[in-house]
């Protein structure tokens, strides 16, 4: 794959899936496209791009490519730099806003929470950053469509792989060893998380979720088509309070999906929020 082909493919992926790929990802993309070429019995990248652009009407091939270029693995403290932006800049701002409104309540929605690694990560961050956490009404609503995953989330027990990125001092406080090499989330931390079944495509259910300061929906929307994705993000907009923040995966672009959100630079990070 040469630079021109990578450029064309990258544009198309951005338009269809909303994912950004930097120049340095050429080799990465090349290898994955090779797999698709082989699966489709094609041998030219140009033919593949043409296929994606004009012959993939129901998006099946784009999804097949999406599955190769995105990682589905889930573990705690994934995408650390986003969490850092959240903890260092956005959380203090949200706390300040709530203080000024006179109500010490903070709500976070982890949409597409799978087996719970993300909401429990957020719970740990909240308890670590907010020294007066006990004086606040803190709630992390964790939703997913998959009942099997939700059951795992309710158990709140994780193996060494899932907890490998948890900073040591946090692990000592918030992870309780169980069995041979597993860890349960400490009850004082786990109690911040409420786990619920929810289909993101179910618009009437989605409209009932309101008064959130943060929505996290990372690496979930890439599996939706354009119109459905837009609809989900519109509901996120509705669910957020003015000034509230939306986090998608670090290579997913909020602005590609909806221009209703405002982009801001906080420190070294770009964040998206609902206008105040």
């Amino acid at each position: 794959m040469n630079a021109r082909q990578f450029d064309a493919l990258r544009d198309l992926i951005y338009k269809t899936l909303g994912l950004h790929y930097e120049d340095s990802k050429l080799d990465f993309m090349d290898k994955r496209v090779e797999k698709r070429l082989s699966a489709l019995g094609m041998d030219k990248v140009d033919d593949y791009v043409f296929h994606l652009r004009f012959l993939d009407n129901d998006g099946v091939e784009m999804q097949a490519l999406a599955n190769l270029i995105t990682t589905n693995e889930t573990y705690m403290f994934r995408e650390f730099d986003q969490l850092q932006a959240f903890a260092d800049h956005c959380l203090p701002e949200a706390i300040e806003r709530r203080e000024q409104s006179g109500r010490r309540r903070l709500r976070i929605w982890s949409a597409g929470c799978s087996s719970g690694e993300e909401p429990y990560t957020l719970a740990i961050v909240l308890r670590e950053i907010m020294h007066d956490a006990d004086e606040w009404d803190l709630q992390i609503v964790a939703t997913d469509i998959d009942e099997v995953r939700l059951e795992m989330a309710r158990r709140a027990v994780y193996g060494p792989y899932a907890v490998r990125e948890v900073p040591d001092d946090y692990a000592a406080k918030h992870l309780v060893p169980v069995g041979r090499d597993e860890f349960k989330i400490h009850p004082d931390t786990a109690k911040l998380v409420e786990i619920r079944h929810l289909n993101l495509s179910s618009r009437h259910e989605m409209r009932t979720l309101r008064d959130f300061d943060f929505v996290f929906c990372r690496n979930v929307l890439i599996y939706f088509d354009d119109v459905s994705r837009k609809t989900v993000v519109d509901h996120f907009y509705n669910s957020l309070n003015p000034g509230g923040f939306l986090y998608l995966g670090h290579s997913e672009s909020v602005s590609r999906i909806s221009a209703a959100f405002k982009i801001r630079r906080l420190g070294a990070h770009l964040v998206y929020c609902k206008e105040n």
Binding site: R4, F54, R203, T231, D234, A259, A260
Partner: protein, 360 residues
Amino acid sequence: MSSQTSLELRLADQDESVRAFAAEDAGFDNNVEAIEPLVARLRVETSRFVRDAIFTALARMTHATVVDHAVQLLESDDAFLRNEAVTLLRTRGQDAIERLIETFRQTDADVRKFLLDAVSGMPGQHPEGLLLLGLEDPDINVRIAAIEHLGTRVRPELKEQFETVLLREDDPMLLSTVLTALEEVGDAETWSIVEQRYPNPSEYLPFLAPQILRLMAKWGSYDCLGKLFAVNVKIRASRMGDWLDSLETLHDRFRFRTLSAEQFGTIWAEYEGSSNTLSQYRLLRWFGRLEDQPDILNILTSQLLHENSTVRKGAVLGIAKLGTAAARGTLLSHLPIESDPEVRAILTDNLAEESGAQLA
């Protein structure tokens, strides 16, 4: 209360969420009577969130009147409405084509260009009728849009039409666009037309050089290698990626094993003067294909001590490509002193591949 009145009331609500969800529900209900109120609201709505929701709703609705309204919106003074109308039309596909062709014949150049943008993403052959109309349009921006969109469709049958445009036109932006289109469908004949029009590589213009180089590399004869090296040094430096692509393509086609001393000297000077480690990496990796280039192994070996690990990776890959026993020996003796783990990994992989055995 009729659903119509209810929709209009909700669309006038103070709360933007109520307005947005009114639109969303109308989209799912797909009731043709909802279209007029939705479009009417668009024209006065100030919330971006609600405007987006209205367009999403219209995109869900299957009635032909959506196309009529979208076409009218193309003439709006509001750039947002025009652009969203283009996006909306793009989703309509074949059903909209007749209406769009009819509109194309009656409207101004700005709207004609939007119509071409609207059909550009549509699959199938019907949109091409409109695009072909655009090729002969009196307005140059419409012609440019038509060429660009037709170019992405890769229709070999259009090659001669593009070549005619190339010979007839002088506008630099249009020439740049048509050359890009010809990259996809051109052939040796195209190259000879380009070569005649632009005989002197040192005078290639920066906005045409990449396309010319790619056509040259794909279709030119072996002596185009000389032309490649005659490209203006500033262009070569600013378009090094394209220049290297062309060098690699020529090599793939003609499998030369050396460059002349002068050519090698030029490219080596380029390498040494470059601050782009990716280009340096690519060059070193490619040097491995010059099996008969005098002293190539020593030259590549000297770069194994480069301070940058990406460049050292290039050197390793270039030496590995040479494939000789001496090359292998060089890699073996470098392995113990290489500190970067990624470079070490490449060294190990290449040495293992050659011997077919695991390294201890």
